[in-house]
């Protein structure tokens, strides 16, 4: 059955993929009228694309199969064409088949699904770590391996946007990360549950107070990648974007030097928060 369904692939590809033609600098955000996943910029997202293509074949195949039977039945067995209904009420062989065939299809799905699950769970060799903390309603980023500097990433209000900056997705200080580097991402929150999501990187993980979640990312292409908080976190939930700028390793090293100076005063800001609170009392 699956073999036959492969015929459908080009149609699905035509119908579903809104493929951007020439993207010079990678822009990791949705395009108008986009119908498919955002373009992959990480190995995890690559594999999600592959798995999604397989699932699309299966899903479209099942839907068309059912639709075809439904259409045929409504046509052939309408009261006009078939005035005398059959009285058969079961058929053991048929029932075994429609139990067994779905099991086979599920196994075909489950194997790559499980591989993907374990692939994106953890990487073995991290070259650096990024710490992410969610707050109502902005993110804080910390670079423990580059001198432990830290900064807040505040959304830019609509009125202050420069031309070309996408609305609701632009922040003042973006996360800068090197390409081709295995990066461990540690995520938490200090008030309510948020979710750090960057679709093009195949990244989505809850930021939960009292817990540290771990994910990894390896960015394939230089560019700007956007995401939004993906767990309802209160009044300004739709206004806490994530903006990741992926640069070459050299550019990243330069940026780190700058950032260490610029954000020096923020170093260890959790301690500062405690101090600030004490002062305010």
């Amino acid at each position: 059955m699956l073999e036959k369904l492969k015929i459908l692939v080009p149609f699905i590809a035509l119908g579903v993929m809104a493929s951007p033609i020439a993207a010079s600098a990678e822009e990791g955000l949705a395009k108008p009228w986009q119908m498919n996943l955002q373009d992959a910029a990480s190995p995890v997202m690559d594999k999600i694309h592959d798995f999604h293509s397989l699932l699309m074949v299966v899903m479209v195949g099942i839907v068309l199969f059912v639709l075809a039977i439904l259409g045929y039945v409504c046509f052939r067995f309408s009261a006009k064409r078939n005035p005398v209904p059959s009285k058969t009420s079961h058929n053991t062989l048929l029932e075994v088949v429609w139990t067994a065939v779905p099991i086979v299809i599920l196994i075909i799905i489950a194997i790559p699904g499980m591989r993907l699950l374990y692939f994106h769970d953890r990487a073995q060799d991290y070259e650096m770590t990024l710490k992410v903390t969610g707050h109502q309603w902005y993110w804080t980023y910390n670079y423990p391996d580059q001198g432990d500097f830290e900064f807040d990433s505040i959304p830019v209000p609509e009125g202050d946007l420069e031309p070309g900056q996408p609305r609701l997705l632009t922040v003042d200080n973006r996360v800068v990360l090197p390409v081709d580097t295995n990066i461990q991402v540690l995520i938490t929150a200090d008030d309510v549950i948020h979710n750090w999501a960057v679709p093009a990187l195949g990244m989505k993980i809850d930021a939960t107070p009292g817990r540290i979640n771990e994910r990894w990312v390896r960015i394939d292409k230089e560019g700007m990648y956007y995401g939004m908080c993906s767990e309802l976190c209160g009044v300004y939930h739709s206004f806490m974007p994530i903006q990741v700028e992926a640069v070459s390793k050299e550019a990243f090293a330069k940026w780190v030097e700058q950032a260490q100076e610029e954000f020096a005063q923020n170093d260890g800001s959790s301690v500062n928060l405690v101090e600030a609170e004490q002062k305010s009392r």
Partner: protein, 544 residues
């Protein structure tokens, strides 16, 4: 009571009159009718909320709802209303109450007074829920009520407490109703109505009642813990006191996943009756159908964490929940294929209930295949909390359930009211609503794939196109909804009287079609004796 004398005269409609008939009602039919009306009221409120949401989302930027707490309240209340006060009352309280006793040949429910309190508790819960949105700032938590967002620090004021109490009271109503159904179905079947002769709708309600009985107490426990967290300084879900926000999610979804089957299994029952009736054949693979529902119910209790693939569960745990969830596709597949096989070889009449049942299959299959995708933890997190999930569950659960309710209402209204719906208008209503919901929800798959998060009042401009299409779909759906309510009004006012016991012909074999139309106040006073095939060997006797 002058019950015996009245019965001797063939007078079946002896009952209290005026408000006492309804407020004090212990009659399964009157209580069923009240449930259906309550569901209509809640549907209008919940529907209005969703149209307001779609109006705001028709264009990027903020047009109408500049108070985002209020937006979150709309999202929350829409979910609560549709789940607890529209679908459940209509299908379980409404059609369940009306037709379980009729179908098994019982004179009424086992505990008629408990039936009364079940309904009135639900009415009280609806009042509490509506109040929760107007006291204070309203509950802006989503229907999942995740702490810490639902804790007192982040949702101060009494709104969330009102919401919790509304769910508590609705839960008590559900538990009492579930006990009533279980006892009725186990003990009050007419002679010869063995378990394996019960109509599939009765099986569906039985499975649903067990799900309610086992799942709702877990929700009640979790809600109580949240209530004490909010008001009495406990920290079950607060990490700064050693609690864990994820514990809430486990408890909530241990209830929440069975809850989606509580919504859709009665729909399976209705669709089975309708397809069998209008194909003029018994349901194909009856036993497989009954036990498919039982196994969906059982497995439904061990898959809850597939709602939590992004909370940071261990990979092995996610692998287990992926496998367990995929298994559910097997019994649901059995149901779809059995419906198709019932139609295959049948002699199909395309009456409005049948159209709705076919619409149900279409919606359920689309929502089902995206469910198979979402079951995979490996890919789910790309779709988690996006509009892909919104599209999935509206297809598979919400809109599918609505079509089952339409099917049930059109199928049974002649029996319930003694009047038939206007045929042509009802078919137009079906098509308008069917086109509307597909235009409304199908583009949301694209939005979700492209990464648009759910529960947001404003979105990046690139998502405009499909959002606009989706809002047009909402408009069409609204037209279809108003047409339905017009049909309800028209049917009660001037629908064609139904004179036959069985207006649907040879396909309608269940016992509600051997009593007169409209069904008299008391039915099956003499128990019918059921022969093979579930047909009565003696008629349910209208006296003399």
């Amino acid at each position: 009571m002058a019950y015996g004398a009245a019965a001797a005269h063939g007078e079946h409609d002896h009952h209290p009159t005026g408000w006492k008939r309804w407020v004090y009602s212990t009659n399964h039919k009157d209580i069923g009718t009240m449930y259906i009306w309550l569901s209509f009221v809640a549907a209008i409120i919940g529907g209005a909320m969703s149209w307001y949401i779609r109006l705001e989302l028709a264009h990027p930027g903020i047009q109408y709802i500049d108070d985002f707490q209020f937006y979150n309240v709309l999202v929350t209340a829409h979910g609560f209303l549709m789940v607890f006060f529209v679908v459940m009352p209509a299908m379980i309280g409404g059609f369940g109450n009306w037709f379980v006793p009729l179908m098994i040949g019982a004179p009424d429910m086992a505990f008629p007074r408990m039936n009364n309190i079940s309904f009135w508790l639900l009415a009280a819960a609806l009042v509490l829920l509506v109040l929760s949105t107007v006291v204070g700032d309203g509950p802006g938590t989503g229907w999942t009520v995740y702490p810490p967002l639902s804790n007192a620090n982040y949702q101060p004021g009494p709104s969330v407490d009102f919401g919790i109490l509304a769910l508590h009271v609705a839960g008590a109503s559900s538990i009492l109703g579930a006990v009533n159904f279980i006892v009725t179905i186990f003990n009050m079947r007419a002679p010869g109505m063995t378990m394996h002769r019960m109509p599939l709708f009765v099986w569906a309600i039985l499975v649903t009642a067990f799900l309610l009985l086992l799942a709702v107490p877990v929700l009640a426990g979790a809600l109580t813990m949240l209530l004490t967290d909010r008001n009495f300084g406990t920290t079950f879900f607060a990490p700064d006191g050693g609690g864990d926000p994820v514990l809430w999610q486990h408890l909530f979804w241990f209830f929440g996943h069975p809850e989606v089957y509580i919504i859709i299994i009665p729909a399976f029952g209705i669709i089975s009756q309708v397809i069998s009736t209008f194909s003029k054949r018994p349901v194909f693979g009856y036993l497989g159908m009954a036990y498919a529902m039982v196994s969906i119910g059982v497995v439904g209790f061990i898959v809850w964490a597939h709602h939590m693939y992004t909370v940071g569960l261990d990979a092995d745990a996610r692998a287990y929940f992926t496998a367990a969830t995929l298994i559910i596709a097997v019994p649901t597949g059995i149901k779809i294929f059995s419906w198709l096989a019932t139609m295959w070889g049948g002699s199909i009449e395309f009456e409005t209930p049948m159209l709705c049942a076919i619409g149900f299959i279409w919606l359920f299959v689309i929502g089902g295949v995206t469910g198979v995708l979402l079951a995979n933890a490996g890919i789910d997190f790309a779709m988690h909390d996006t509009y892909y999930v919104v599209a999935h569950f509206h297809y598979v659960m919400a809109i599918a359930a609505i079509f089952a309710m339409f099917a049930g209402w059109y199928y049974w209204i002649g029996k319930m009211s003694g009047r038939q719906y206007p045929d042509l208008l009802s078919k137009v209503q079906f098509w308008v609503f069917f086109i509307g919901v597909n235009v409304l929800f199908f583009p949301q798959h694209f939005l979700g794939l492209a990464g648009m998060p759910r529960r947001i009042p404003d979105y990046p401009d690139a998502y405009w196109g499909w959002n606009y299409v989706s809002s047009i779909g909402a408009l069409i759906t609204a037209v279809g909804t108003f047409m339905f309510f017009y049909i309800v009004w028209y049917t009660y006012r001037s629908g064609k009287p139904v004179t036959a016991d069985n207006p649907w012909g040879e396909g309608a074999t269940t016992l509600e079609w051997v009593v007169p139309s409209p069904a008299p106040f008391h039915t099956h006073e003499e128990l019918p004796v059921i022969g093979s095939g579930g047909r009565p060997t003696t008629q349910a006797a209208p006296a003399e």
